[in-house]
Amino acid sequence: MVGLLSSIPYWGQSLLRVLGGIVAVLLPAGTIVYVFLFKMMSFMQSRLGPMEAGPFGSLQLFAEVGKWLQKEDLYPDRADRFIFKIAPLVVLASTFLLVAVVPFGPDAWFTDFEAGVFYALAVSSVSVLGILMAGWSSANKYSLLGGLRAAGQLIAYELPMVLAVIGVVIQAGTMNLQQIVVGQNAGSIFGWDGVGNPYVLTQFIGFIIFMISVQAELTQTPFDMPIAESELVSGYMTEYSGFRFLIFFIGEFATAGVFALIASVLFLGGWGVPFAWFGWTSVDSIDNWMNVVGPLIMFTKMMLLVFVIMWVRFSYPRFREDQLQRFAWKVLIPLSLVNIMATSVLKVAF
């Protein structure tokens, strides 16, 4: 917090952070939907996707949002109305809470939280509550089944995710996301500091497990059993229409973006460039322009990771419910436990 920001009064800083949070959630969500959902998926199916609204269909998203906003706010007769109405907001709130710990630059962060990793993993499971609320309050058997499947899946894949992150935490020796970024970029591989020491190299198994769990947490195909449209209509979202569906939709893709941001912080070096390139030694010696370049680097890494998530989504068919649970409990969790043990042994050894 040097220089520029400290001269702004507290309320001004808070306002900036709120605006920044909204941008950090909505901008990636919109970009992801247009670039990947509209265009990349179409290209992978040998078609062009939306082409009419704006150049190459780039304004299609605004048309879709406009369409959703003018729809009637419907709810089923026997729905638990209050719960039904706030459920999408709970899901979206978890996304906003999640982005609060992501560091975007040496000074460009929302909160510098010591237990950042712990907070992020805890808050990301709040969306399970929203999904269960939506499933239960809809008074619809498909919604209920979808909600229960989602809860089972999200809890099952929360574990390998947490366990995969523990490896990173052990190696970094801190739970502060900012410190994890600094640790990766200030580090060196056997004395060679050309690329720092991104943990994807040492924690490769952890990275794979984390990305698979993210795929499941986002309920993206092949883990889209909760919203399996061929059997459950649309799972817990079945009864939603208009802007409440829009909020679920934004929540899904914004969370994809935020999880990709967290993955890039944990494994790919986050906003940083290897400190050796510019002769920096610690966070305080970093030049101020990194606060502008840092978010751009983060955005690039996020797009890269979301590309992989979406690529997998568009390529594979859906897991069956039992296969999905078996994969989490019998493959991912034992593997991540082995990973933790190996990491701890190596940490002590070196």
Binding site: M40, S42, F43, M44, Q45, S46, R47, L48, M51, W311, V312, F314, S315, Y316
Partner: protein, 163 residues
Amino acid sequence: MAKVPGLLKGLGVTLGTMVETVTKGANTVQYPHEKETPPIRARGVIALHEGNCTSCMLCARSCPDWCIYIEGHKELAPPRRAGGKPRQVNKLDRFDIDYALCMYCGICVEVCPFDALFWSPEYEYSEPRIADLLHDKSKLGEWMETVPEAPELEAGAEKKGKK
């Protein structure tokens, strides 16, 4: 673990298709801007050659959907040769096909003994209102222009018709 090569191959297929679409273009066409030409003998719409029709009603009776409506009356035409009797001809008043009902089976085209009905590859005749899909004989006659020439006969086959 044994499934990993197959999984990677699957990813390769989608990535390959994406690269192909970006570099060589998609398999689809942007319909209202560019149009595909349907195959030459595509069954787009049924056209009517009014002069050949004798309002014999065979097509209307064979239609499984009962979507052909024919009305006609008899008229006296001048005799072919001098001093002959005036001929009686069937004059077609109404020949409508309701394309909201038609299922494009083509039985009417097959059954017509006087070559009055033809398949045309024309396909752009959608209407905002379902009742407007009832097309009358002048509209069916316009489509005659889009009917392709009959294909060449097979070697050795003889052309039927007036001697």
